[in-house]
């Protein structure tokens, strides 16, 4: 297994692992790819940190689909205008 030394503040994973780590983090990796990527990340500090941060970031991005909690709404005037446009569509 090809490993890189940890270089402190670097965010970048081993170049040949980037795609596999992305797929592992977002859940689109095949089982085989995921096993390989996780095994590599467990031994490679750079890739381990990258995978952990990427997984956490994707979790936060998913939560953004319902945040901010305060709902945004169209106002009633905009809804009235929409209803008029709906009526035009009906012809």
């Amino acid at each position: 297994m090809k490993l890189h030394k940890d270089s402190g503040d670097s965010l970048e994973p081993c170049p040949h692992m980037e795609s596999m780590l992305n797929q592992t983090a977002d859940g689109t990796a095949s089982k085989l790819v995921e096993i390989y990527a996780r095994a590599h990340a467990a031994r490679c500090p750079r890739c381990g940190t990258f995978l952990a941060r990427l997984t956490a970031m994707l979790g936060k991005l998913r939560r953004m689909s319902t945040e901010p909690a305060e709902p945004e709404k169209l106002d009633e005037k905009q809804w009235e205008s929409l209803e008029a446009r709906f009526a035009e569509v009906e012809g």
């Binding site: 965010l11 992305n22 709906f86």
Partner: protein
């Protein structure tokens, strides 16, 4: 006695009932659509609202034509919203003569301003609208990458649907996502906010 369509009061006619059904669905998803549109449009709240309204009208047309299969309304409306956003951008490009590269460079200059001590008016507005580190990291992306992240990572559309919505190959979706995620991590680190990812 059998009632014909003409015998029904207007409020119970099939078309009005369809409109009411659609309006109920639209109201259920309007806040999610507005959130997504705001993130697509940057700080331009008015443009975001216009795009959501255009998307709902397009969606209603498709709904009446039977082009909605009743499954996954959020994903369906998000795809239509994306089309309306891209259409609006194309119209704007035609009117202003700007191409995507120029717009991306403008976006980049604005992003750079976030680290400046003296924010310009656009930067100030962006700061106020997108104060969270994740929002700011998202807004730092070029539009083509931001759309991929919004659709795939925030709205969780399958890659194939993202590719179809943006009219690009799936491989391009993957490569844009990889570049975008790396850029977001870099921005979060540069804001000294890596602890939000613990």
């Amino acid at each position: 006695m059998t009632l014909t369509r003409e015998d029904l009061p207007i409020s119970q006619s099939p078309i009005v009932s369809k409109r009411a059904e659609f309006a109920a669905m639209a109201r259920q998803h309007e806040d999610a659509l507005l959130r997504t549109a705001r993130r697509m449009c940057g700080a331009d709240k008015d443009l975001a609202q216009d795009i959501v309204q255009d998307a709902l009208v397009s969606a209603y047309r498709a709904y009446l034509d039977g082009r909605f299969d009743g499954r996954h309304p959020a994903a369906w409306l998000t795809r239509i919203l994306t089309n309306c956003f891209l259409y609006a951008k194309r119209q704007n490009r035609t009117e202003t003569g700007l191409d995507e590269e120029v717009i991306a460079n403008m976006q980049g200059s604005m992003d750079h301003g976030w680290n400046s001590n003296i924010p310009g008016p656009d930067t100030k507005l962006m700061r106020e609208t997108f104060s969270e580190p994740m929002e700011r990291a998202l807004m730092s992306l070029p539009e083509s990458q931001r759309l991929c992240v919004l659709l795939a990572d925030v709205e969780e559309l399958p890659y194939a649907e993202v590719a179809a919505a943006l009219d690009i190959p799936i491989g391009t979706v993957r490569s844009r996502l990889a570049r975008a995620r790396m850029q977001m991590l870099t921005v979060i680190r540069d804001m000294n906010q890596l602890e939000v990812l613990v």
